[in-house]
């Protein structure tokens, strides 16, 4: 039986069981958060760094969690913020043009021993990486996690109409990207 969020939170808030509560939280959510981060940053080592930072932040701030939103929503927002901060920091460090960026990404995926996809999969990942932040988030949640617009609306705090528009734009852009030779 899966442990409930309230059990995790009460274990975490008690100093004598804090570590136990934290391990329960990680056990429940680490894979789900890892895949959200990995699809945004692509590389395993980067995803590992970001995920560890996310959990350190969770350890430092979970005591103040107000329980006004679901625990996963709170965790997801931290994970996405941390991933986007990581990507923008990385982008600021690099000085390459957009073409160089695409070719770097392609060779990075080829060299990644934890990437098993074929050329078409590689192109899809490059197409996703080229999307604006919001469209990328919405596409990943709908395409891979098969979330309804209603669920996404709770998670991202955006109206269903706006999410639908973002997803449609993202899908069209990816389709064009895949059709190009």
């Amino acid at each position: 039986m899966e442990i409930s969020d309230s059990q995790i939170l009460s274990a975490f808030k008690d100093p004598s069981t804090k570590e136990e509560g934290f391990k329960l939280l990680m056990g429940k959510y680490q894979q789900r958060l890892y895949w959200q981060i990995r699809r945004l940053v692509l590389d395993h080592d980067d995803a590992d760094d970001v995920l560890q930072n996310v959990f350190i932040k969770v350890w430092n701030h979970l005591g103040k969690f107000q329980e006004q939103s679901q625990l996963f929503t709170w965790l997801y927002r931290i994970a996405v913020n941390e991933s986007l901060t990581f990507l923008s920091r990385k982008k600021r460090k690099g000085t390459e043009s957009l073409d160089d960026e695409a070719s770097n990404l392609s060779s990075k995926l080829t060299a990644d021993r934890y990437f098993d996809g074929d050329d078409l999969q590689k192109r899809l990942q490059m197409a996703i990486a080229s999307l604006p932040e919001k469209q990328r988030q919405v596409f990943l949640l709908r395409y891979y996690d098969e979330m309804t617009y209603e669920e996404m609306s709770h998670l991202l705090g955006t109206s269903e109409g706006a999410l639908k528009a973002s997803y449609h734009f993202a899908v069209k852009k990816i389709e064009i990207f895949l059709s190009e030779d």
Binding site: I56, Q125, E146, K172, E175
Partner: protein
């Protein structure tokens, strides 16, 4: 139509090429990655420097808990009680002084002047240093002759002020 079917239908209408692709996860993770992650994270957490705000909070918590121990609770309670009584005493005294000052401030200077003239004689008034000289009231309609006559007749022991008052 369930959610998955709905998503697939939407995708096939919007992007036939993407829709035809097998939806698979091309990424892998190292073996036992997730099993080892909690230990790795906890190790990092324990090695991170404690922020000064947390240190202060911990110190306050321990100090707060310490004063509730039996050997500290009696003297701490006695000190707190003495402080409370002291503060209350000074507060009451000050408020009483304040109220007398407030009442005096509401009396006009003329009322005070009248009270002094009615209740104090000239000798007593002289004893108050810094107070203005008592006002000598000399009738305005008296003639020089009447005045001379009066001065000739008053006893040597009486001062003019006593005679007039």
């Amino acid at each position: 139509m369930d959610n998955r079917e709905e998503i697939e239908k939407e995708l096939s209408e919007l992007a036939p090429k993407l829709s035809a692709m097998a939806k698979e996860n091309p990424f892998r993770v190292p073996d036992y990655y997730f099993q080892g992650l909690p230990g790795k994270v906890l190790e990092k957490i324990k090695s991170q420097p404690v922020p000064w705000t947390d240190k202060l909070e911990m110190w306050l918590n321990s100090a707060f808990m310490r004063i509730f121990r039996p050997r500290y609770s009696v003297p701490v309670s006695a000190i707190l009680l003495a402080l409370l009584i002291g503060i209350n005493f000074f507060k009451t005294k000050n408020s009483r002084d304040d109220s007398i000052s407030r009442q005096l401030a509401s009396i006009s200077s003329e009322e005070i002047n009248d009270f002094i003239i009615e209740n104090f004689d000239a000798d007593e008034l002289e004893a108050f240093e810094g107070l203005p000289e008592p006002v000598l009231i000399i009738p305005q309609d008296i003639t020089d002759e009447e005045l001379q006559n009066y001065l000739d007749n008053i006893s040597d022991n009486q001062t003019p002020e006593e005679e007039f008052l």
